[in-house]
Symmetry: D2
Subunit: 392 residues, 4 copies
């Protein structure tokens, strides 16, 4: 098993020097350079740590990968270099577990080799993302085909993707959690309309680093493109959330760790008067101490949940899966905020990745369901166990 330190060395050698370019150029322009590094990652046997060895990966368990993921999170291109970046990682896990043999051969294998990219079209602008069973996109069966019609946004990395997995209602009369199915749609299928890369926090982005608005206008795909059973869309989405949550949280902790190190380094060396550095300020010291405690505690919490998922399954660990969502997102935001404050004007610039994370990871409290939804969900389960009846 590769050590986290091997990944850190790879990143410090190859990824960090590219950050200024990442922060100042369209992602599209970096793709050729990054492709070479991905080849090198394969040669160094660091590729796809989360995938089984039989599929070219390293076969790590969820807790093992979690440790690696925290290291990768320290660079904004860390996960991408090893093919374990969202949304591809989620699609890989989904297809590996639930894809048909044909789906695996056609979509999973090239994805696992990093030859193509993919995306996941779920959120709709007209419906609250906090309510995952409420959507308008329809997949109507006609013979051996689904005809898909709908409007999606925040389909991350759609720009340049070979296929998307679409969440669409296949039976509007079923109970809410059985209405939708997940269906593979090639991005070049007729009727897939790429509306725009949505400008997010001042950047339109491109290629992998983008969030698209899409329309599906009578797109036809064979019924065999459906993943799993009809009506299983929501259940599959839930299933991907468990490991996906660990991936997100460990990435956030990687960002937090990097921001923490930058904050400490800056404080230790930045003079604020002749012979006096920022780190002598008690306010800065207290931020450093508080961030250290929060990051350490949060990391132990996520690793504990990862172990419970590995041992008992995602359902048994569902309270923890909810808790880490909002807890780690909060830690991340506080650490980034303080790291920027310690950097002063420099922290506002794109000369460091702090400002990038500050603006884009504001989304951590929103995507995958806003924090508020997860807080209520876990609390209702706790209250239910204490005898509160279900309401509403």
């Amino acid at each position: 098993m590769p050590l986290p330190s091997q990944y850190r060395t790879f990143l410090e050698t190859h990824a960090h020097p590219l950050e200024r370019e990442f922060l100042s150029k369209p992602f599209r322009d970096l793709v050729p350079q990054l492709a070479k590094l991905r080849e090198q990652a394969k040669r160094e046997h660091l590729w796809a740590p989360h995938l089984p060895k039989s599929h070219g990966g390293l076969g790590l368990s969820l807790p093992e990968f979690a440790e690696i993921s925290a290291v990768l999170g320290e660079s904004p291109i860390g996960h991408y270099l090893f093919n374990c970046n969202a949304p591809d990682i989620g699609n890989q896990e989904l297809l590996l577990t639930h894809g048909s043999a044909e789906q695996k051969a056609k979509w999973f294998e090239p994805l696992a080799r990093g030859e193509i990219r993919s995306c996941f079209a779920m959120t709709e602008p007209e419906f609250a993302g906090s309510n995952p069973v409420w959507m308008d996109t329809r997949a109507v069966r006609e013979g051996g085909e689904y005809v898909i019609t709908g409007h999606k946004w925040f389909t991350s990395s759609a720009d340049g993707a070979a296929f998307t997995i679409v969440m669409a209602v296949t039976d509007p009369d079923a109970p809410p959690h059985k209405r939708a199915s997940q269906i593979i749609v090639p991005m070049d299928a007729p009727g897939v309309v790429f509306v725009r890369n949505i400008p997010v926090m001042g950047e339109q982005g491109s290629d992998y680093a983008s969030h698209a608005e899409l329309r599906f206008e009578g797109v036809r795909v064979p019924v065999t493109n459906r993943i799993g059973d009809e009506g299983a869309g929501f259940a599959l989405a839930q299933e991907r959330l468990g490991p996906g949550r660990i991936h997100h949280c460990m990435r956030w902790l990687g960002i937090s760790e990097r921001a923490f190190r930058m904050m400490v380094q800056r404080a230790a060396t930045r003079e604020i008067a002749p012979g006096e550095v920022l780190g002598q300020q008690q306010a800065v010291q207290h931020w450093i101490a508080e961030c250290r405690a929060e990051i350490d505690a949060a990391k132990l919490l996520v690793l504990d949940v990862a172990s419970r998922i590995e041992r008992d399954g995602a359902h048994a660990a569902r309270d923890g899966i909810s808790l880490i969502k909002f807890h780690v997102a909060g830690v991340l935001q506080r650490v980034l905020d303080r790291a920027i404050q310690v950097h002063g004007a420099l922290g506002m610039t794109d000369d460091t990745p702090l400002a990038y994370w500050y603006r884009h990871e504001r989304g951590a409290r929103i995507y995958d369901g806003p924090d508020e939804v997860h807080k209520s969900a876990v609390a209702k389960r706790i209250l239910g166990a204490a005898g509160m009846k279900r309401h509403g």
Copy 2:
């Protein structure tokens, strides 16, 4: 005296429809349209509310202008439309009070008419902005000229400015607060090197909406370009801070008010399930209540300080001037954060101005001296009045 409501009507009619363009295009591209609106502002007798009537303004007192300023803050181009935007407003106030007749004729008058723009070059990348008497830029007197050499950044709106006011050390052997002077430098003077517009929070910006890095390489200007006495640079900078602080804080409160209205409007109308809107969520209700209380209290505090400045002068009101800096910046950040959370994914996009303010007004806690400096400064005065001796 024009009513705040006249300004709000002007903004809602003319500025709000331009916001999507402001958020998606270089500012430079909007300049022609904005120039027309500035002419209209003059025709409607709303131009330069802060300037004396003798100079084309409306002659408002500081507290009167403060009320207007909060309204203007509700649009990111509000102050610009009426020629009371930073840094021009600060330069106007400085030249009006301390400029020579020649300086007024040559620089102030066209500035007051909106024919030119200006900037203020103070912060240096190598020195902490929290220590305003610590800098490296030198102005060496040679005959009737100053020869200026130095490195500045975060010179806001330098791109396209006709002149800058440079803070430079004229006597390195003087006591710290007497070392520097403020000197007018035309931006087209030989030796003024425009290094770059600094990419800030993902945007390089242009024209008025930019922050430049500049080098002064042996720039020569006549000694008569100095504003006020030699060595008075720091004292003049302090003086501009009083009213400048009111301007900033009221603008922040304007942003807060707009964000609050957007948050309420979204909560009142955004369905999260059939027949259920976001505003029924108690968490959202509590944010609304807390923001309302914080904005209202902060606004009263700023207006109270403005009245004290008007009545007793900036020196007498200096505690309040420090307090509002960090207090209102904190309110602003909390309101924006919650407004974004209520908007969900939409809040992350540039389809509303929330994300723009979220990223750029992160600077509110940094520029003009980081919050921490102001907190310590005011506390030391309070502690000194309670008998604590000065230290270090």
Copy 3:
């Protein structure tokens, strides 16, 4: 009109020296000494600043009294000394406005002269205080009498009171807000059972400084003891809340101001190493600055609401009346928490009043309706004005 400084002088001369006794002895033991000081307050024409001159008071307007009230709050016995302490002040205001001539003669006048004390029995242990229309105490009319049966607690200052005003359901079939009436009950009436002074935060208290649990077991009072119309109990309770809220908030701000001064004084003088005082610690400086800003802003907010009540009535100012409840209670708690931290071990002791306020004013976020209720109430009005329909 007496100046706030006259009250401060009175308190510093007479009340502060009594604080150690107040903190270490039963209140009952202090009553004789306090009675003398109350006589002196009359002689110095400081008595009952909130009451009309025709009733022995000073006839101050609500905003005028608010300023005085903040000064009185600086001592835990401040309001008591001048007969403007809760719950008597609320009962005075109620009887003055809505009492019959007989009620005024019998109960209001001796109360205004400070000859008797009173209490207000509303909260019931079995019902949430957050829902003021939900209660079990019944007043059944039999001929010219009400027969009152019920269970109340947190009837503050019942110990030693001459009468209580009881909130009791007179018509259980009326709409919720019309069910209850307010009825005067002499504490020595047969059937009034004094269960206990409730131990609150470690202290059972006595006399004025106590919170009682009472039972009403078939207590009979004449129908003429009812204040106002039958069914008007809730409306009258609402009415008393407006000015009552101002009284509470200004008292809290008085406590905050005193705690702030103690914190500053301690920080300015407490050595933490030879020649180094606590106030040189940046963390302490920042607390001082933040508290100063919060107190100042909150005070302006309360005074603004007081002025609006005076000018437009409590109904027009009801949003502000809700906002100040939770906003000022929050400021109070933060200031007390920091003042204790600055005092270290001493802050935990009863050698200063900080620990007293810390524990008893924890109730500020609970009594008069918990903060959460007020936040939701004001937010629903704001959201309603923005078009949200009423629900639930």
Copy 4:
């Protein structure tokens, strides 16, 4: 090894029913009942889990005891029942490791058997507890004796103790960390003046549940009463801090867990309107979720530090030992605050232990060195490792 559940069962059976008495009576009155329960704890082989089996304990490792300690913390008398309460536990650990054979026989053994109690006299009212090397108490050697003179306070549990360990300066000319020694002083030695039990948060306390002010007026004890070398007082105090910190933090987490359960239980069952319980309020749900995440993460952090102490020693784990101090104290305070808010008026009363913990555990952020000292200490080490030079 006994299971945590055995301790929980013991507490639920024997300790919880005593809580109302504990909260309403002097501790002294409970001592006979508690003595019987301590005998029962011995009979059930639950006594002194932290002590070696050779000394009548259960021989648990630090991490094993930590788990038990969290359970014991759920009752205010939990640790006392099993003889692992502060300050006795610290004195036991100290004497066991550093006591002479004579000291062990005379003081440790009866202490381990629970026949006597002890205390630890370190803090002085005139000197900041945040600076542990700064004190005035002197132990002057005269022949084979020390003559001790000094003033101490917050000597917890001195009332009824058989002996105290006194921290006293034995060599004022030594470097600061070598000045003091720890000396055993029988409480009945001539010159030991028991000034008072300090009223803390409204309670003077008694016996074990008290904090004393003591004077040492020329108290003479044999030199053989010194623990360890002369001048080793500070080093020994540091040493006791490592495990002592784990004990405190796990106790705090036990309190947090109990408060959490009470909050959940209350929320699940307390009606706020007919058919509607408190737990349906989203604000309450969010508090529950946030508390659950904070408690879980903090517990993992403390257990991780305990394991590192066990494995690598307290010095290697010193950063963690500092981090958990302020981090867990913060969690504790937030959980208690919210548990009280959910209980409303009941939370203010002594009918539950919440108010007791709320007021007395406010000290958690102060005793053992205020949070601010620990934050700065750990940050300076982190900054030093990043290259910051030591200052001041």
